[in-house]
Amino acid sequence: MTRKPITRKLILMATVAFVLSTNPVWAQPPTQNQCMTQLGACYYWAAAQAGFWSMWAGGIDCELAMIDCIRRSILGR
């Protein structure tokens, strides 16, 4: 009969210790290398679009996304 309360306490203590041991993760501003890698992948996607204008619009969207990525890496606080 005494084992159950002890077991529950041990489980509770282990759970609390586990939670306390984990650190909340900081938001990671992107690195500029990541931004350029994403740009390359996006260009690949844009090139696969059907039709010239879709490709062109896709390319512009890729560059705007790259600018946003670099902006977050430089100005994000």
Partner: protein, 312 residues
């Protein structure tokens, strides 16, 4: 008769004393500042802050987790609301609050979005050209254009919904760069907290600060040398707040914090003449300035709490 004292000796010693005393006074002009924690509660977590605006005693923060936080300056109480009404794929950037209480962000490079105090998208305004940044200038918006010709102003000012009726903001101006990527990086503008229609803006890799109200006659660009002296690898000036008639608070020494988040490590109390009126190393480091008065500056620390810097 008593022997007269030679008059040539007394002025020399007197002058020497005056010079020494004046030197002592001038060396004490830069006042040592102090820091204290004024709010232990976490105002903002570890999300990336992508927009900050201050008006009417309230500071607004926009994070990349699509949350809007407002912090009241008098009570220091913070309220956080999720953004609602965004369209698929929208990643808001920047925040501006106008004198009439309107809150605006760039929902996309091509669209402004007006937000309510609890984060609802109330209105959208289509932009003719993509914009890179948004800041407050009294009752008007400051928008940053992509860099064009070298030496051209990077910012334009106007009221929302006015379409093409935005006028050039004198400074800062675009800089030359060797590559397209460097051109982008070298020409990102950041603006701090303004006062009475004056806004401080700077290029992220520059120690020169432009302060103006949009008119060439009332715009100045000065190098804040103390910022360059304590510069981090990514740029001398991290944040700026104007206060009163001439007070300028400058947060410098941007350095990498946890998760590569950049932080400001030193706060200097300065003036519009770029004088050093005292500084303090910040521990913990600060993410940004929340608000400032002539003799006090409140910052958001890396731990998410509010710090106050003041002269004792």
């Amino acid at each position: 008769m008593p022997t007269p004292v030679p008059l040539s000796h007394m002025p020399q010693r007197f002058v020497t004393f005056i010079i020494a005393f004046a030197g002592l006074l001038s060396s004490q002009k830069a006042t040592a500042l102090q820091v204290r924690l004024i709010s232990p509660a976490e105002v903002v977590g570890r999300q990336l802050i992508v927009g900050r605006a201050h008006c009417a005693g309230t500071t607004w923060l926009l994070t990349d987790s699509l949350e809007l936080t407002r912090v009241f300056g008098d009570s220091r109480i913070a309220y956080t609301s999720p953004l609602r009404g965004l369209r698929q794929g929208e990643k808001p950037w920047g925040l501006a609050c106008l004198a009439n209480g309107e809150l605006w962000t760039l929902a996309t490079p091509h669209a402004l979005a007006r937000l309510t105090a609890d984060g609802h998208v109330l209105e959208r305004v289509r932009l003719e050209r993509p914009q890179l940044g948004i800041y407050s200038a009294g009752e008007r918006l400051l928008l940053q254009d992509p860099p064009a010709a070298v030496g051209t102003p990077l910012l334009a000012v106007g009221v929302p919904r006015s379409g093409s009726a935005f006028t050039r903001w004198p400074a800062p101006v675009s800089r030359h760069a060797l590559s397209a990527e460097e051109q982008l990086r070298a020409n990102f503008v950041s603006c701090g907290i303004g006062v009475s229609g004056y806004v401080p803006c700077w290029l992220v890799n520059d120690a020169r600060l432009a302060i103006g109200d949009g008119t060439p006659a009332h715009s100045t660009v000065r190098e804040f040398r103390f910022a360059r002296a304590s510069a981090g690898e990514d740029g001398p000036i991290w944040d700026v707040a104007l206060a009163g008639a001439s007070r300028v608070w400058v947060l410098t020494s941007a350095r990498a914090g946890p998760g590569a988040l950049r932080l400001g490590g030193r706060l200097t109390r300065s003036t519009r003449l770029a004088e050093d009126d005292g500084s303090v190393e910040l521990k913990p480091a600060a993410r940004l300035i929340m608000w400032a008065t002539d003799d006090r500056c409140v910052l958001l620390s890396a731990t998410g709490q509010l710090l106050e810097v003041f002269a004792p």
